[in-house]
Each structure stands twice: as C-alpha cells, then as structure tokens.
C-alpha cells in the first residue's frame, strides 16, 4: 500500500475516482478518490483497492490474476464490452437467481471474486429495476409492492 498517506493529503479538484468495482447487491465503482493507477490495466484506484507487488502498484482485481495477465486495456479500458463473451442467468439451489458471465468457455459463480469485475458492463448487465424482480428479500419485496411514484409526501 502507498507510503504517502499523510493527514495533510487532500484530493485535487476534479481528481479521478477509484474505478474498482464493489458493492453487495448492486455492483458499482468504489467512488473514493484515486491515489494510484494500476500498472496492468491502468484504471485509477484508491488506497484500499491498491496492492503493492514489488515496486508496482496494481488494482485488487488484477492482483487476483496470474502475473502475466491483466484486465483489458483497449481504448475503452476495463469497461470494453468486447471483453465479455456472453451472459447467462441461472437459478441457484435456493431458487435465488444468480447471473454470471462466461469467459472463454469457463463459467464463474458469483462467489468467485474475479467475477465481480465482470458485472461492470453497462450495456449487458441487468439494471437495478430488474434486480427488484429477482430479489425476494424483505426490503425489496416492500419496494416491489410500491410501484407508484410521487404519491407519498412522507417518503424519503
């Protein structure tokens, strides 16, 4: 990790934000200010999502790949849709739907940590509105039962 964490450090105006993907129900960029850039895939990363390997700083996602591999560095970077071959939806054993991506014929489960970077595709991914239809947890059941907007002056 970085050795330049000083109490005086303040992000520059318009500083880049960490682009590492995180989140439990909804995958989203980290959002913290970036302090480093991954030597492999070049995406900006915050201190928490940066791993030091020798003299190089790489992102947490690339650190889980073999040393000679990295996320794609096309002109669109790690969000390049050409990286993703297919998307599939499967039903987990407890009937909760889980979706995952096929890469080079290899299926990865949602529990696979390297999979979480695969859900960042803005073109192929399900949206938050679709998640409500799949998720049977109590909070989202409540939301799913309230399809009417702008009818509650006491909402939040």
């Amino acid at each position: 990790m970085s050795s330049d964490q000083t109490p005086e450090w303040q992000p520059e105006k318009n500083a880049a934000l960490c682009a590492e993907i995180s989140g439990f129900l909804f995958q989203h960029p980290c959002g913290m200010y970036a302090r480093h850039r991954c030597h492999r895939c070049e995406k900006p990363t915050c201190v928490a999502h940066t791993v030091t390997q020798g003299e190089q700083t790489i992102c947490e996602s690339c650190s889980e790949l073999p040393i000679d591999q990295a996320l794609p560095t096309s002109s669109k970077g790690w969000l390049d849709p050409s990286y993703w071959i297919d998307i599939d939806v499967d039903i987990h054993v407890d009937n909760r739907p889980m979706w995952y991506r096929k890469k080079s014929g290899t299926r990865k489960s949602r529990s696979d940590k390297s999979h979480r970077q695969h859900t960042a595709d803005p073109v192929m991914d399900f949206t938050d509105a679709d998640e409500i239809g799949f998720d049977n947890s109590e909070p989202n059941k409540i939301l799913a039962e309230q399809p009417d907007w702008e009818n509650d002056m006491g909402a939040s």
Partner: protein, 343 residues
C-alpha cells in the same frame, strides 16, 4: 408562519421524512451564512415528523438568519406548492435549493417552476430509482429547470448534464467535530446507537440498545478485559433521559463505534469522523441504502454484538487518514457563483 419580508433569502426545499433532508439543508444554509457573512437569510421548508423536535433542539444554536417553515408530514402536494409559491414572493427568494427530489415528492415543483422560470434553482442530487427517473423523464425535467446540479454521491444520476458537479460528501460541518467530548476511560469502549429513519426504526434501535447492554453484561459474551458502554441517541423521546444532540456530528468523535441505519448523513458523517460503524440498509422508496451497507435489518442482537467486537478489533489495527473531505463549502461556493451569474 413568518410573514416578514426579508431583503434576500435562500429558499431550501427539504421535504421528506426522517432527519436527513432537514439536516443537510440546514448544513447548507449554515455554510451559506458563513460565506456571505449573513448577507442572506435562509428559509427551510420541511415536513419531517421530527421537525418540531429539531427546532426545539436547535433553539440555542440557530439564529434568526435560518428559519423553518413546517408543513404537516401528511400534507398534500397542493399545500406544498401553495406554500412554496407564497414564500418565493414574500421572502424575496434569491435562489431555490431543492433537496433530492427534483420534481417534489408529489410532483408539485413542476407547476411551481413553470411560474418562475428565471428563478435560480439548484438541485442537491442523491441516488434515485432508475424506474422513477425513467417513468417521469426526470433527467429531461432537471436539464430544463435546474441551473446547477450537485451530485452528492457517486450513485446520484444526472452525471451527463452540463450543469452538473460531483461534490461529495456533503454533511454538516461541525467546528468541534474533531474534539472528543466524552473521552473513554481505560479499556472502556463507548458505542453509540443512533436512532434515525422512521419512528418505528428509532424505537427498534432503542430496544436494540437495551439488548446489547444485556448481552455485554453476560459472562458468556462479554469480554472480561473490556467494558462496553452503550448509549442510545434519538429524537423519539427527547423529554426522557435519551440523548439528543442535533446535529449529531459534533458528538461522534466521543465514541469508538456507531450503530444505526445506512442513511446518507450517518454514513458519511462516520466516514469523515473516522468512527467505525455498523449500519443497516433500510428499505426506502427512493434511497437505495444498500450502496452504503450490506447489512439488512432485522438482525439478532447477538450477531450485532459480534460484529461490533469485530469492527472494534479491526479498527484498532488500522492506520491512515480518511481519504474523504467534506465538500459542503464547495457546494455553497458554487451556489454563490450561480447567483453572481444572474446579477
């Protein structure tokens, strides 16, 4: 209601339940007061069920420069629209600042804006459901009507609009936020359970406090080498022995850990104060709290207690400053520059 005519006034539209909208707009009003040396007044329109409790709590902290106009929590969109129209005229409104809901909770702002196209308008944007944005074509409405949009979290919409700025987080700036009003003794660990959200959620957190106290005293689950002290803070029973400081941010530094709901303010206030937090994502019609916490409510008290111990243990080993800084002054500076552009 206050019918005084003020020379110029910011009008803050902070409708919504709970304490979040009210607190954030008060924080913005206070920052504007500081930056303009009191040149403008601020009027904050609220309909929170906790508004009467807050106005009482801030009696010693507020000034006649910042005033509240309170609607009933069950008010209709028409009542809100009528009040807003009256205040825009009576208060010599210099700028309208809308919290989170671009069209109003009942769509009442669409009519109001049609009658005041030249009034400077700023939106403080938090995350909103994509389905709602799509159904009401909110982005188009925002682009047409708002002169400045402040996205106060990365998940907020409207990122592609030219008048948008990313300014996060935006929370109350307390002058004494770094002070420790309640220094712990020896190995004592002070845990604050914050009652927020709906009244029912506040009560549930108050009940949780009692359960955690009981667990901590149990020989099977307590750590004999440390004393856990639990305090409940909430607006439910201000006349009782419950703590209720408003705003809360000045008190956070005095605690080793905070337990509460994953609303915007508590999440970012604990981040800025570098106080570990165990926060629960509560269901909300418009706010996706799961972007701030993976924990759902309810959760057994014993499990919460274990999480508290784990967090305290992890916190004692971590080093390094927070990478986040309060951007509230950036937001208010931008509002003032917006006003200058209208002169």
């Amino acid at each position: 209601m206050n019918n005084d005519v003020a020379p110029k006034s910011f009008l803050h539209y902070a409708l919504g339940s709970g304490l979040g909208h009210l607190t954030r707009q008060f924080a913005i009003a206070r920052s504007l007061q500081k930056q303009t040396a009191g040149k403008f007044k601020s009027t904050i329109v609220v309909n929170s069920e906790f508004a009467p409790v807050v106005t009482q709590a801030i009696a010693h902290r507020g000034s006649n420069q910042i005033q509240f106009e309170t609607l009933p929590s069950t008010c209709s969109p028409t009542e809100a629209e009528n009040l807003l129209a009256r205040l825009i005229g009576v208060k010599q409104c210099a700028c309208l600042i809308v919290d989170v809901f671009p069209r109003g909770l009942g769509g009442e702002l669409s009519n109001c804006f049609a009658n005041h196209p030249d009034l400077p308008k700023a939106l403080v944007a938090r995350n909103l459901p994509p389905a709602y944005l799509q159904q009401f074509q909110v982005e188009s409405f925002v682009q047409k009507n708002y002169h400045r949009i402040f996205r106060i979290e990365p998940e907020a919409p409207f990122a592609n609009l030219p008048q948008t700025q990313l300014t996060f987080p935006v929370v109350f700036q307390s002058a004494d936020a770094n002070a420790n009003p309640n220094p712990a003794q020896s190995d004592q660990r002070r845990i604050l359970i914050v009652g927020s959200g709906t009244p029912a959620e506040c009560q549930a957190l108050r009940k949780l406090t009692a359960e955690l106290k009981s667990i901590a005293h149990s020989d099977n689950h307590g750590d004999p080498s440390r004393l856990y002290e639990f305090h409940f803070h909430g607006p439910t029973l201000p006349q009782s022995n419950d703590l209720f400081h408003w705003p809360l941010v000045s008190q956070l530094a005095g605690y080793d850990l905070v337990v509460g709901n994953a609303g915007y303010n508590l999440f970012w206030e604990t981040q800025l104060a570098q106080v570990p937090a165990v926060l629960f994502a509560q269901p909300r019609k418009y706010d996706d709290q799961s972007i701030r916490s993976k924990l759902n409510w309810p959760m057994p008290a014993i499990e919460i207690f274990d999480r508290i111990r784990s967090k305290l243990s992890a916190a004692s080993q971590s080093t390094g400053p927070t990478l986040v800084r309060n951007s509230i002054d950036d937001l208010t500076t931008s509002i003032l520059s917006l006003l200058k552009s209208f002169d």
